[in-house]
C-alpha cells in the first residue's frame, strides 16, 4: 500500500554480516518533506540501513521504492542520481583545497569554477549557511566544514537528505542554525532522514521516528509527543536508571594547573594557551569544548604523555609536570583516553593483556618485572564483572568488543585501581545509553568516595549530569570554571565559544 505521499518505502530489508544480523526485515516509510528520525543504540543497525539507502551496502533481501519506482542503488552515484544525498558523521574533505574545489571533487560533472562559486554562494545564502567558496577548508571550523558537506548535497537538489549524527561536532548556537536550515528544506518538500543519539534534538526537529533495536524495527513514535525517557527506554528495552549526583562538599585541592602554555605539536594540532585550573578531592570537573580545540593536548599533559615544566602541573602540592604516565600512576594519577582502539587499548591483544597495560604497577601484577599472569587474568575478570563488560572472556581481543563494552572495560580498568585523580577524555563517546549510564555512575561513585575526576567531554548533557563545576576549552584557552548548578545551555554555548557568560551579562 503505497500512498502518493510516500517518498521512500522500505520493505523487509535484511542484511547479515558474519556473526551478526545488522538489519532484519526492516520496513518503514518516509513521507515527502518530513524529518524522519532513525533511533537506536550503537550496533542497532542504523548505519547499515542508511548505507543501504545510499547504495554503499547491497541488502540480502528486501525492496525499496522511491517515489513509486523500484529503487536499488548499486553505488552512491546511482543514489545521488535518484535524488538521495548524505552528510556523513566524518567529513570527507581535503584540508588543503578550497570550499569550491572540495565541492567540485564530489560532483560527476562539475560546472565551470566561476559558475560553481556563484551556485555555492546562492545556495548557502538561501539556506542561511554562510560560506565563502574560496576559503581553504583547513581554516574552517567543524560547523563550517559541515556546511560544505550540506551545500555539496543541496547543489544536487536532493529529494531525500540523510544526516548521520550531524550535531556531534556543533555548538548549541550552530545547532540552532542547522535546525533552521533543515526546517526550511523540509518545508520545501525535501525529506530528511535524521540519525542521532540526542533525544532532545530529535524531539525538537523530527516529525516521526523509527526505532531500531538489534537490527529490527521495534516501534515508531511522534517525538514531539513522546518523552525522551520513553524513547530511550524503547531503544534499550529496559528501564533506564539515570545516575543522580549528590553535590557534596568539595575537599582539599588536589591538582592544579598553572600558566600552562604549549606550542602545537603538529600543523593540525592546537596550541595550549595560559591554561590554569584546579580540582578538589571529591569533585568532578567537566571540561567541555568542540572537538579539536585542545582537548587531546590537555589530556596528554595531564596523563603525562606530554611533559611540561615541573610546576605547570602540581599534585598534592608537588610539581609533577616532568613525570611520565608510569610515575604519575605511582602517585595515583590515572587516565583513560578518548581513542579506545590503539590508545586506551591495543586492539589485537586480549583483555588480559590490556588489563596489564595500565594496571601492572598499582595492582602489583608484575612484581620485580615478572608478570603474574594468574593475577592479571583475575584483575581483568574483576573489571569485566564489576563493569558488566559483555565478552566471551578475558582472552577475547579488545578490538572484538563493541565500543560500549570496550569503553566500560577501559574506564573500569582505571576506576578499579582506586585513583586519587582520574582524567577521562570523552567518557561515553559513541557508547550506547545503557553503557553510558553505567560509566557515568561509576565516575560519580568514584568522586563520592573522595577521588578527583576530570571529565573532558563534547556531550553537554553529560557534563551537566555529572559535573560539580564546568569549564570549556576553545582554541587552546580555557574559560573560568563555573558551578554546574544554575548553568543554562545558553551559558554553556557561550563558554564553548570561549566567552565567560558572567562577563557577557555585564557587558
Amino acid at each position: 500500500m503505497t500512498s502518493t505521499d510516500d517518498l521512500l518505502v522500505i520493505e523487509g530489508v535484511t542484511k547479515a554480516y558474519p556473526g551478526v544480523v545488522a538489519n532484519s526485515d526492516v520496513s518503514f516509510r518516509i513521507r515527502k518533506g518530513e524529518v524522519h528520525a532513525l533511533l537506536g543504540e550503537n550496533g542497532a543497525g542504523k548505519s547499515t540501513l542508511v548505507k543501504t539507502i545510499y547504495g554503499l551496502v547491497t541488502p540480502d533481501a528486501g525492496t525499496m521504492v522511491l517515489d513509486g519506482l523500484r529503487y536499488a542503488p548499486s553505488e552512491p552515484s546511482a543514489a545521488r542520481q535518484a535524488g538521495v544525498a548524505m552528510v556523513f558523521q566524518h567529513f570527507s574533505l581535503f584540508d588543503a583545497l578550497t570550499v569550491a574545489e572540495n565541492i567540485a571533487l564530489g560532483m560527476e560533472t562539475p560546472p565551470k569554477r566561476r559558475v560553481l562559486a556563484r551556485q555555492i554562494r546562492e545556495v548557502s545564502e538561501a539556506y542561511g549557511l554562510p560560506l565563502s567558496p574560496h576559503r581553504r577548508v583547513g581554516d574552517l571550523s567543524a560547523g563550517e566544514r559541515q556546511r560544505v558537506e550540506i551545500v555539496r548535497c543541496l547543489l544536487q537538489d536532493p529529494r531525500l537528505l540523510i544526516m548521520d549524527e550531524p550535531t556531534s561536532v556543533l555548538t548549541p548556537q550552530e545547532v540552532e542554525i542547522l535546525f533552521r536550515t533543515l526546517r526550511q528544506l523540509s518545508s520545501e518538500g525535501t525529506a530528511i532522514l535524521y540519525i542521532s543519539h540526542k533525544l532532545d534534538e530529535i524531539r525538537a526537529i523530527c516529525d516521526t521516528a523509527t526505532i531500531l533495536r538489534h537490527g529490527k524495527v521495534v516501534g515508531d513514535c511522534v517525538p514531539s509527543q513522546t518523552s525522551a525517557r520513553d524513547m530511550a527506554e524503547m531503544m534499550v528495552a529496559a528501564k533506564l536508571d539515570t545516575p543522580v549526583k549528590h553535590p557534596g562538599t568539595p575537599g582539599a585541592e588536589v591538582l592544579s594547573v598553572d600558566g600552562l602554555s604549549l606550542p602545537a605539536a603538529s600543523q593540525f594540532g592546537t596550541a595550549l594557551k595560559e591554561i590554569g585550573f584546579s580540582v578538589a578531592k571529591g569533585e568532578i570537573l567537566g571540561i567541555g569544548g568542540v572537538a579539536g580545540n585542545g582537548q587531546d593536548e590537555l589530556f596528554a599533559v595531564l596523563s603525562g604523555e606530554t611533559r611540561t615544566a615541573p610546576d605547570a602541573v602540581t599534585f598534592d602540592g608537588r610539581p609533577v609536570g616532568r613525570l611520565g604516565p608510569h610515575e604519575r600512576r605511582a602517585i595515583g594519577i590515572l587516565s583513560a583516553p578518548e581513542e579506545r582502539l590503539g590508545h586506551a587499548a591495543a586492539p589485537d591483544m586480549s583483555l588480559t593483556d590490556n588489563a596489564l597495560m595500565t594496571a601492572a604497577l598499582r595492582m602489583k601484577l608484575a612484581p620485580g618485572g615478572w608478570i603474574d599472569w594468574a593475577g592479571v587474568k583475575g584483575y581483568a575478570e574483576t573489571v569485566i564483572k564489576a563493569f558488566d563488560v559483555r565478552t566471551p572472556g578475558a582472552h577475547t581481543a579488545a578490538g572484538a568488543l563493541s565500543g560500549g563494552n570496550l569503553q566500560k572495560f577501559v574506564v573500569g580498568r582505571e576506576v578499579m585501581q582506586a585513583p586519587q585523580l582520574l582524567i577521562v577524555n570523552q567518557p561515553t563517546w559513541g557508547v550506547d545509553a545503557a553503557a553510558a549510564a553505567h560509566i557515568r555512575k561509576a565516575l560519580i561513585k568514584l568522586a563520592e568516595d573522595g577521588a578527583a575526576v576530570i571529565a573532558i567531554s563534547q556531550d553537554l548533557d553529560e557534563l551537566m549530569e555529572i559535573s560539580d563545576r564546568i569549564t570549556a576549552i576553545c582554541d587552546g584557552r580555557m574559560v573560568r570554571p563555573r558551578p554546574a548548578q544554575g548553568l543554562t545551555m545558553n551559558d554553556l554555548g557561550l563558554m564553548l565559544g570561549g566567552r565567560d557568560p558572567e562577563e557577557e551579562a555585564v557587558a
Partner: protein, 361 residues
C-alpha cells in the same frame, strides 16, 4: 566476486598454518621453476630437503653443517625479532655481524700468541660489544634526530663491508701469510678457537648461545613486563606510551640486543667454522636471518624451527648446485619464494576470503 574481509580478531590457526603452507607452496613453485630450468623437479626438491639429512653419501658431512649454519641464523634472528615485534626495524644485522667478528677477532689477534683460558669468553664479549656499538649508531640517530633506522642500519652494512676488506688486506692481515689477504687462522690458536664441543656434530659455543637466546627470548616475551612492553609497542605505539613505555629507551634496548647478538654470531663464526677474517667473511647470515625471523612468526620457538629449515635449504641448495648443477641464483630465488609465500599466506590470518554472490542491482 572474490573479496577479502577483515577478521574481527586475528586467526590463531592461520598464524600457525601460514608457515607450513608457505613451505608447501615454495616446494611446488620451486619444483615448477626447476622443471623450467630443465631439471628433474622431484629430484631437485629431494636433494634440497631430504638428502642433507638422510643421504648415506652426504649425510655425515651435511648434518653437522646444518647446525653450523642454523646457529648464527637463529642467534641473529632472535635479536631481530625483539625489535621487529616492537616495530623497530634493524635491517643491518649483517653489518653488526661483521663488526662483532672484527672486534672479537681483533682482540684475539692483538693478544696472539698468548694462551689465556678466558680468551674465548673475552672475545665473545668483545664481539657482542662490536655488534652493539654498530647497532647503536642507527639507534642513537633515530632517538636523537628521528632518522629512519631501516636506511641507516642497512647502509652501515656497506660501511662494515669496507672496513672488513680493509682489515683483511690491511690491519688484520696475517703477517706470515705471504701477502695474501686474510688474517691468521684462529682455529690454530687454541685459546681463541671456538671448537666443536662434541666432535662431528657441528655443535660449537655459538649453537649453544643460540639455544640459550631462544630460551631467554621466550621467557622475556612470555613472563617479563619488558617483553610485554615490546609486544605492546609493536601492536599499539600510543597505547605503549600511555602504559609508560619510553619509546627512546625501547629503541635503544632492541637495537642494542639485536646488534649484540649479531656481533656474537659473527665472533662465533670467525673463531670457529670460518676461522679467519677474510674479504668474503660476510656470508649474508644477517639478511637471511630477517627471513628466518618472519618465517618463525617472530616467536622464539618458531625461529628455532625456521632457522633449521633455512639452514637446510642452504645446504640442500649447495648440494643441488653440486649434484644437479642448478645455478646459485635459482637457489636464492627459491629461498626468496619462502618469504614471499609466507607474507602472502599471512594475509589470511587477518582477513578471510569471501566469495560473494554479487547481486546485480
Amino acid at each position: 566476486m572474490i573479496r577479502l574481509e577483515r577478521r574481527p580478531a586475528p586467526s590463531k590457526s592461520w598464524t600457525y598454518l601460514a608457515p607450513l603452507l608457505a613451505v608447501a607452496a615454495t616446494m611446488i613453485a620451486g619444483a615448477i621453476m626447476f622443471a623450467l630450468l630443465g631439471k628433474d623437479p622431484v629430484l631437485a626438491i629431494k636433494t634440497i630437503f631430504w638428502d642433507p639429512v638422510f643421504s648415506p653419501q652426504f649425510g655425515s658431512y651435511s648434518r653437522p653443517q646444518l647446525l653450523i649454519k642454523a646457529g648464527p641464523l637463529i642467534l641473529i634472528a632472535i635479536g631481530l625479532s625483539l625489535g621487529f615485534r616492537a616495530g623497530i626495524w634493524n635491517i643491518g644485522a649483517e653489518g653488526q655481524y661483521i663488526m662483532g667478528a672484527l672486534a672479537g677477532a681483533g682482540l684475539a689477534l692483538a693478544l696472539y700468541p698468548m694462551e689465556l683460558p678466558v680468551l674465548l669468553p673475552l672475545m665473545v664479549l668483545a664481539g657482542a660489544l662490536g655488534g652493539w656499538a654498530w647497532a647503536m649508531i642507527p639507534g642513537l640517530l633515530r632517538t636523537m634526530f628521528n632518522t629512519n633506522e631501516i636506511l641507516v642500519s642497512l647502509l652501515l652494512v656497506y660501511v662494515a663491508e669496507q672496513i672488513l676488506s680493509a682489515a683483511a688486506v690491511g690491519f688484520l692481515r696475517n703477517p706470515e701469510g705471504g701477502g695474501f689477504p686474510g688474517s691468521r687462522n684462529l682455529q690454530s690458536y687454541p685459546s681463541a678457537h671456538n671448537a666443536e664441543i662434541i666432535a662431528n656434530t657441528g655443535i660449537h659455543w655459538g649453537v649453544v648461545a643460540a639455544l640459550i637466546a631462544v630460551i631467554a627470548a621466550y621467557v622475556l616475551l612470555q613472563r617479563h613486563i619488558l617483553g610485554f612492553h615490546i609486544k605492546l609497542a609493536g601492536e599499539a605505539p600510543r597505547a605503549a606510551k600511555l602504559a609508560g613505555v619510553n619509546p627512546a629507551r625501547l629503541i635503544l634496548f632492541c637495537m642494542g640486543v639485536s646488534g649484540a647478538l649479531a656481533g656474537m654470531a659473527g665472533l662465533f663464526e670467525v673463531a670457529g667454522p670460518a676461522g679467519k677474517i677474510s674479504i668474503d667473511f660476510g656470508a649474508g647470515y644477517g639478511f637471511t636471518a630477517i627471513i628466518v625471523a618472519f618465517l618463525g612468526r617472530l616467536h622464539p620457538v618458531g625461529i628455532l624451527l625456521a632457522g633449521l629449515l633455512m639452514a637446510l635449504t642452504y645446504i640442500g641448495g649447495e648440494l643441488a648446485q653440486l649434484m644437479l648443477s642448478l645455478p646459485a641464483a635459482a637457489i636464492q630465488a627459491f629461498q626468496g619464494m619462502l618469504l614471499f609465500f609466507l607474507l602472502a599466506f599471512d594475509v589470511f590470518s587477518h582477513y578471510r576470503l569471501r566469495i560473494a554472490t554479487g547481486r546485480a542491482a
